[in-house]
Symmetry: C2
Subunit: 521 residues, 2 copies
């Protein structure tokens, strides 16, 4: 069994603190561009030539990885040990996409079989919908799918859907309802035909306030429309935990299951992402995403940090957070298809590692998870890059790029295609951030020394996308181990829920009452 | 003429540094909820009861506002003085929405007349399009408008469009192409009918690489479609500077003008936002946005910080940034219609104030503009709020809320409507962040002391939206004056452009060449 200790108790961490930081301008050479990269699985490569590390620092980081037993802890995850200690749960999202550890049996149930069985059921169901064998209550085929979910039941699946919607012709129109704001549900309902629409209600607990409210919102709206012989319940399926109140609700046209070992923000490769993505594109597309994720999971087992992109990305991130004291990380995909991928990573990272208490329940004396933000490049260049280049704080950057566009139809203008212009911008930014430029006009002076990494592949296809998703899941997991925190619970969201219910049940005090008058509550 | 000095040279700033910070748990009382709020114009109110300030701090902040002559500097902006000193330009976005300073005449041109004339031309043009008097080249009426622009020509207009698309039935289908990624343009082009589409190419300089590339992308794609008697140039209008290369291009079906005194990120209330929003909703809707913005501009002239929301928001923000040393600010609108408003504010704030050099060209020794990020609540609650509640850094919060939803059709479930649930969540979060909760289980312990403000109004309508936009523009302007930086240029984006062109023109060195091989360039 691996041991758990705080980052600042590690010998390698103390050595890193004593080591003088390197200057990017000094170390960034042509030679290291090919040397400083690691496989991330499924053809994805992590290049860290423009990170402020050298071989000494990398060697201390390798020591740190061994000292914190990162690979061993990852094996514990894969082998089904209770790694979400606060909630006394296993952490099994890797198992949804392939077996890398031992068989995991829980209450006589082989969980790998359980997850693949749910995938199979979803595949069969999707096929029936696509073939028109499964129809709406008024006899019309379904042409629209609407995911009702929030947080992990929304951000990951939505980001993946958007990443593929132009690569494949979706088999159905796809919409998402997440917010409890009635404007969200009303806007989607105004755009669809209820008779040909299939809703997926996604909530592991079966009690998520926003999602259950929107489920009832749809039922209520359907009733008011008075469509002859329309039965809304024939239009709603569920993805939920097997023991949840939703699992006991027999009104659903079908139900697919996950369990407590799949955390919301890690659930894109479970039935949570599987249902909507299989309905949108076909289950074979979803299978390919799982394969890509599995390849990244496998790569993340490599003991050599130079061969393990997720591990290295995690270690360099901790170096930047705890030695260089940078508070934020910007995620900058140079692919419009990844427009909402930063929003998914924002949840994944900030909900996993935005913690102040270690696994032993003590406050830690160092910074943990960073603030994550980002937009697709080149859009971000025309937005917040000014601050990244010339602001008073240094923000580490995570670029993502692809050699080819998803849609091959490109146009030449002034001697280059749009895709070449896109990637020229990406590489120009890496160099500008790292090297800066001296100018006698201080307004035009660039200090440089802004570190960045580049994750790249030939093209953003299904397997690449799956690997990209898993890369960041594994990076975040390794960072949690480095900080000695539990990356798999989210107690920080509970207090707001409790107070919301007090307001709704009118169990409020004077202070709250005064605030409530501002919004006429 | 006001004087310009650094923040750390101000007497009031030194007093603030000596003042002990207040504890929110100690100061947050029912009484101050109604006392600690200020008008922002057009029915918008800024409540700062849950900010970590008291009357002493507010009095020092008022001193600081006087010492940095903030209102006087704002009057200089309104009176057309050269406030963008680096580029030797006036700053006139306020003038697009009403006259608050003296007449501004430049080269014999009254600029107020110029801006209103352009609005009038856009209104007339929009009306012709809506009435079908202006048709496409094959004789069909236009039913679709596509804005081609990036940065300020995209984020602001897009955020405003999304904020209103469910409040009004748009008169046309609306799309945006921004990214130079060919997947962006291809995806939009696949969804529209060229014969009934009108494109707006928006670039003040007329040379923005992404926008001009996408303009030619559309022309090229149109040619390959071989539609009989189709003339793509009858489908493209321009919004550009009067002296730009685009202004000299006679191929456009119509051209509307701005000038160098309207910065990109401040251009939503100029022709840049006016063309697409007037075509989308009608010019009378755009006029109402301008009225709301004008009301906020007027409110921002109030010398009393307790009556001036933009000024107070700016001052409290600087207090948090430079006395409490918080690096980020999260913007959290509890309205799905504002889903992309944080992305606009990200540009507005970070591009304006992400600077290290003061107006005299010297490096400043204090932090300037914060990192801005955010998502619509309650979605954010299920994403990154974990870190906001329990992370190791404190992040100030900017909530935005409305008493009523935009669409009145709401549904009651378990005794409350969705809108009531939405706002109960909002208020619960303010309390949870401020007060926290002690728990013997350290995982469930909330330290509190996370400051937030709330901007609220009855409903998100056109005037409210205009006021909200202007509130933040003015806040950012005041902060720039406090930091003694120029909020109106963006020299930090230039180096990337230069290096991109070097790559495209193959004027590269070994280091760049090596990077280029990664992406097959």
């Amino acid at each position: 069994m691996p041991g758990y200790k705080n980052l600042d108790q590690c010998t390698a961490f103390k050595k890193l603190q004593e080591k003088k930081p390197v200057s990017l301008k000094n170390v960034l050479t042509p030679a290291r561009i090919h040397e400083y990269q690691a496989h991330a699985g499924a053809g994805l490569t992590y290049n860290y030539a423009a990170k402020a590390v050298d071989n000494d620092i990398l060697s201390f980081l390798a020591d740190l990885a061994r000292e914190q037993e990162l690979i061993e802890k990852y094996r514990c995850v894969l082998n089904g040990e209770i790694m979400n200690t606060g909630e006394n749960r296993k952490v099994l999202h890797h198992l949804c996409r392939g077996q890398l550890g031992q068989d995991i049996v829980c209450e006589d149930k082989n969980l790998r079989h359980f997850y693949t069985q749910q995938q199979k059921r979803i595949a069969d169901f999707s096929q029936k919908v696509h073939k028109g064998e499964m129809k709406g209550s008024t006899g019309k085929a379904f042409d629209t799918v609407v995911q009702i979910g929030i947080g992990g039941s929304d951000l990951g699946p939505r980001a993946l859907y958007l990443a593929l919607e132009n690569l494949y012709v979706p088999k159905m129109n796809v919409h998402f309802i997440s917010n409890v704001d009635p404007d969200d549900a009303n806007a989607v309902l105004a755009r669809i035909n209820l008779e040909t629409s299939l809703f997926i209600v996604v909530s592991k607990s079966g009690t998520t306030q926003e999602t259950i409210t929107n489920y009832h919102f749809v039922i209520d709206k359907a009733r008011t429309q008075n469509i002859s012989s329309f039965n809304v319940h024939k239009h709603i399926i569920a993805v939920t935990g097997q023991t949840s109140p939703m699992a006991k609700n027999s009104d659903f046209a079908a139900s697919f299951f996950i369990d407590d070992f799949i955390g919301g923000r890690y659930s894109s490769t479970s039935a949570v992402g599987g249902a909507v993505l299989s309905l949108a594109f076909g289950s074979e597309i979803f299978d390919q995403i799982l394969q890509g994720a599995h390849e990244a999971d496998k790569q993340a087992l490599n003991e050599d940090i130079r061969q393990n992109a997720a591990l290295l990305d995690a270690l360099i991130g901790v170096y930047e957070r705890n030695i260089l004291h940078y508070q934020c990380t910007a995620v900058l995909p140079y692919s419009q298809a990844l427009s909402r991928f930063p929003a998914h990573l924002q949840q994944l990272d900030m909900e996993s590692n935005g913690k102040s208490v270690n696994r032993q329940g003590e406050n830690v004396a160092y910074a943990t998870g960073p603030v994550i933000f980002g937009e697709a490049g080149t859009n971000g260049q025309h937005s917040f890059y000014q601050l990244l280049h010339q602001g008073t704080d240094i923000i580490p950057l995570q670029f993502i790029g692809f050699k080819d566009a998803q849609i091959s139809a490109d146009v030449q203008y002034e001697g280059s295609s749009s895709q070449v212009k896109l990637n020229a911008n990406l590489l120009a930014q890496i160099l500008a951030f790292a090297l800066g430029k001296d100018d006698s006009n201080p307004n035009k002076n660039f200090a440089g020394e802004r570190p960045s990494s580049l994750i790249y592949a030939q093209k953003l296809d299904t397997k690449t996308l799956g690997a990209l998703l898993a890369h960041f899941e594994n990076k975040v997991m390794f960072q949690g181990f480095l900080w000695n925190i539990n990356s798999f619970d989210q107690e920080g969201v509970q207090l707001g829920k409790v107070l919301t219910n007090k307001i709704l049940n009118k169990q409020t005090d004077d202070l709250c009452n005064k605030f409530m008058t501002l919004l006429d509550l």
